[in-house]
Symmetry: C2
Subunit: 597 residues, 2 copies
């Protein structure tokens, strides 16, 4: 009996940490063929992306392929989303380049080691956050900050790829630096490269915007049309490879991918260099969090369409495993990608096994197809990146945010501007800091309404918005915010202000239906308010205090020292102080002051 | 007519920025003699304090006297408190020593220059915060953090003064370093110095704890007794000066104050070295804020006793002026001191003119009495500091805070521990960061209750706390927190969780009476929730949304896309979805599921 229970519990825990145990047993022939078909499509989409993002990260192209095998398999084992496709993505690749570039120069062993270490430390951080249920840390990246950051990163990536597209050298750690570098070297454009690059750009934009309507007119289903559009880059790659090979353009100065080592990645121990780990801790954390935020929002969106469940903490563990797997197989940081996951979903992926088959597809590529990539011009890969990232750039969000909230707009704008000028890390850190600061600022000056009784009811409302009755001896205030340290002194000042000029007041009543917390600073402020009011001969009362807050107040001395009482309802407080006023608000008495506007 | 109005407005603005114009015209002979008497008492208390705090700040003793003249006069002009006494205080002096010590070694011109620059930059920062109404910045120092910081600073100051008391050399930038240094040099105690130092300590503690009861038994009024206790140190100073002079102890190795330059401070331009200003910006900001927090809480407490008004923003300007005044007259950072302000108040100071007279008293001291201080042993000044600061140490607060809030306790403990081990700045910064983080953490996991209808009412309550009726097709959730970026995703996850396993649900209703804000991140989360629920065939409704939030939601697309409706009351939402349930909760129907516990 005991044993059976233990087994049951163990199975439950195992299933929660290894979601594969949930879907694995139900796997059958139908799902197998379905997933296989999906894998073929995603593999074709992933090959050029993997190569391109590896180059974007400043790494040899095969590293992109390495990062698209182990991570997919590990995600299939640990991940809770049925549709998420992990692998190298644009923003994480840019962040990798920025972080590794601060430690070594591109092309060196140290640089590659730093990229691997970034994947490893990111993976460990993600897994640790998952086990410790620290997923909320990702919440500190507010939507406006992440959206601004991605827009700015997209611009920086696109600007950086204009160099390879035009065959010129341009570099820098921010959009601004890259643009300056581009302008300086614009005279040395390599025209053959530029022809290939710009040609590819035009083709890819055309595929993206014009191909789908065309296919639809040809009576091809919208989902299939979407998939054809997504694997369009393969056509550009095939054509340009043939072009370079046929015309010998590589001898005329067109930079090509060259020899890509064949074979599967070797499982290697990533560098166990703790000093290095410490140096990359902050960038690794930022990569983890940005990657996680992107990934989880894609996963939740796709899961909701089928009422499937995604467990955010388990997702951290899965992405952690994927990144650790990437590190030990010679890859760099990976996360769930938006467009490839949508393709996965639209193509009908039923289980994460589709990811495993995709990994097999990429594996076959590294075994047998890398020699075909020899003549692939870098300009085409750069063009595919530009087309992909420009869809990330969203200036319209600035306008929408502005109309909804000036504070959020400010955080977004600051993130964009600082990222464009100073680079990735300063931009992101500025955004996070500013959004926290603006929140604290907002709550530091909460909305406080003086309230009065609506005649004929037991309801109290803002004297400025409603026709209400008040008593000159009673000051009723409703605080529309939790009371905590940023606004604790505000309340002291406010009451000092309201009371100091008004000798009539004998009672101050705080109505607290929207006070969700009273921290120790606010408690001390309430004690100070109470004792100062007492010195002035005024009683302090509280009403509509929430249960959990009341529980805590009872542990403090405050309630013992409180000159007035705590009433369940505001009406009860008024009724106990001035029964006449409370009961007869229908017939106004002469001593009542009607306040309205 | 226009001219009169203009004059009236100008006068009003002038009076708000120059409070002296409010009380000055009513000044008369009675208040004059009253203030004069107060000034004599405060002067006697301030002389040893000024000398001691200058030494604590690592400066020559006369600098303490300089810092007790101009600032008092300027505060009298600009300050809004009738009782606050400004001047050098213990914690600000320690902070000055820590900041200046990082730029130069004590005794050098550069060190003195840095102290003056600290006063100047603090003054400018305070004044700027006042004019820009940025007083809320001080709120980021939560009560537990400031209380922990002052306890740790008090311990560090006391430890540091044990050196002079025992005649040994001990130094360090934190309590821990000082204690280690003390232990190392304990064998070289100078016994005559130690006799004077420890004797003074015992005497001063006796005055503090035993004199008042004695005086009360001698039928001396409690207020007078308090004042006698406060000027007790003067007796220790007079006796030890005579002792050193009479026995020639300075020739036997007892360190004395020595020659204190006579005469008033010269008005000098403080160093206009912007590089230096930039270096001291952070310490100057911390000194300003810590000083302001201390000062404003004393001012508010004393003002409340007489229902007087204190204007926090004007106080910033006044303290700013006081510090700038201190800088141009060769002083160091000053603020409102607790004990001297209480003496001021208890002795009956009626106007800030008492401060001006105190400044005159200190001025007369520097003109005629400094030669009397020649034989004053440093050990006595150190002893007065120890006695003063040990009253700042409050470990009991840890216990009280623990019982009220674990988060606040953690912030307090971290501030104390880090300050003791690492020093002042790291301690304060850790405390502020941690308290902000803990707040964000708390609000990132808000209390969300599933609610049901209390039978026979229109009221909805937590299903876990009350006997309520619910409908299996309706999920009613009450969110007890503002919705903003730290908890935006939490709500997405929560609803994903509640809905994913439950095919019956057709409606999700969010009750929002305690939602004081919905920022842009939360808006996007709500949009995501709405569209995901829509994909699953579920309608989303909102109820009891506050006016200001509704105003903003109306500016967004959210309401257009919302699958359900926004109802004023939760009851209305239930009534519109399931009129049967809403109306007939008295007679339960078979399809209703009673939930209670």
């Amino acid at each position: 009996m005991e044993k059976a229970k233990f087994k049951e519990r163990t199975t439950k825990v195992l299933k929660s940490y290894l979601p594969i145990l949930q879907w694995g047993p139900q796997y059958n022939k139908k799902t197998f063929f379905n997933d296989l078909m999906v894998a073929v499509i995603v593999t074709m989409m992933l090959i050029p992306q993997s190569l391109a993002y590896a180059l974007l990260a400043g790494l040899p192209p095969e590293v992109g392929l390495y990062a698209s095998m182990a991570p997919l398999i590990l995600y299939a084992i640990f991940g809770t989303s049925r549709s998420l496709a992990v692998g190298p993505v644009a923003v994480a690749s840019l962040m990798t380049a920025a972080a590794a570039g601060q430690l070594a120069s591109q092309g060196t062993e140290e640089y590659y080691g730093a990229a691997i270490a970034l994947a490893l430390v990111s993976g460990l951080l993600l897994a640790a956050m998952g086990f410790l249920k620290l997923g909320f840390l990702a919440n500190f990246l507010s939507h406006p900050v992440i959206s601004g950051f991605i827009t700015a990163s997209g611009l920086q990536i696109a600007a950086g790829q204009l160099g390879p597209v035009l065959g010129i050298h341009a570099e820098g750690e921010s959009f601004l630096e890259i643009v300056i570098s581009l302008v300086k070297s614009i005279s040395s454009v390599h025209w053959i490269t530029a022809a290939i690059g710009i040609g590819s750009l035009v083709f890819l934009f055309a595929v993206r915007s014009g191909l789908k309507p065309l296919l639809l007119r040809l009576k091809i289903g919208p989902k299939v049309a979407d998939i054809i559009v997504k694997i369009g880059p393969v056509a550009a790659i095939v054509v340009t490879i043939l072009l370079v090979w046929g015309l010998g353009l590589n001898d005329k100065g067109v930079r090509i991918v060259g020899k890509v080592p064949e074979g599967l990645p070797k499982i290697t121990m990533p560098p166990l260099d703790f000093e290095l780990w410490l140096k990359i801790l902050v960038p690794a954390l930022l990569i983890s969090i940005v990657g996680y935020v992107e990934s989880i929002s894609v996963a939740l969106t796709l899961a909701a369409k089928k009422r499937q469940r995604v467990d955010p903490d388990q997702e951290l563990i899965a992405l952690g495993a994927a990144n650790i797997g990437s590190a030990v197989s010679g890859g760099f940081p990976v996360t769930g990608g938006f467009s490839r996951s949508v393709v996965n979903f639209d193509a009908g992926a039923e289980t994460p096994a589709a990811g495993v088959f995709t990994a097999v597809g990429i594996g076959l590529t590294t075994l047998f197809l890398t020699r075909l990539l020899f003549f692939l011009p870098n300009a085409v890969l750069a063009a595919t990146i530009i087309v992909a990232v420009l869809s990330l750039v969203d200036f319209h969000a600035l306008k929408v945010t502005w109309s909804y909230s000036k504070a959020d707009f400010a955080a977004m704008l600051a993130t964009i501007v600082i990222t464009l000028i100073e680079g990735i890390e300063p931009g992101l850190i500025t955004g996070v800091t500013l959004s926290i600061f603006l929140h604290l600022y907002k709550t530091s000056r909460p909305h406080v309404a003086t309230v009065g009784q609506i005649p004929g009811t037991e309801t109290f409302r803002n004297v400025k918005r409603h026709k209400v009755v008040t008593d000159p001896h009673i000051l009723s205030l409703r605080v529309d915010e939790s009371l905590y340290f940023p606004n604790a002194r505000f309340l002291e000042d406010l009451i000092n202000d309201k009371v100091s000029g008004n000798p009539d007041i004998q009672h101050v009543i705080l109505e607290c239906p929207a006070v969700n917390d009273i921290d120790y600073s606010a408690l001390e402020s309430l004690e100070a308010i109470n004792s100062r009011l007492k010195d002035g001969g005024i009683d302090l009362h509280l009403t509509e205090v929430k249960g959990p807050i009341m529980d805590r107040l009872e542990k403090s001395h405050f309630l013992k020292e409180l000159t007035g009482k705590v009433h369940l309802r505001h009406y009860d407080a008024i009724a106990s102080i001035n029964p006449d006023l409370a009961l007869t608000t229908r017939k106004r008495k002469s001593h009542l002051e009607p306040l309205s506007e």
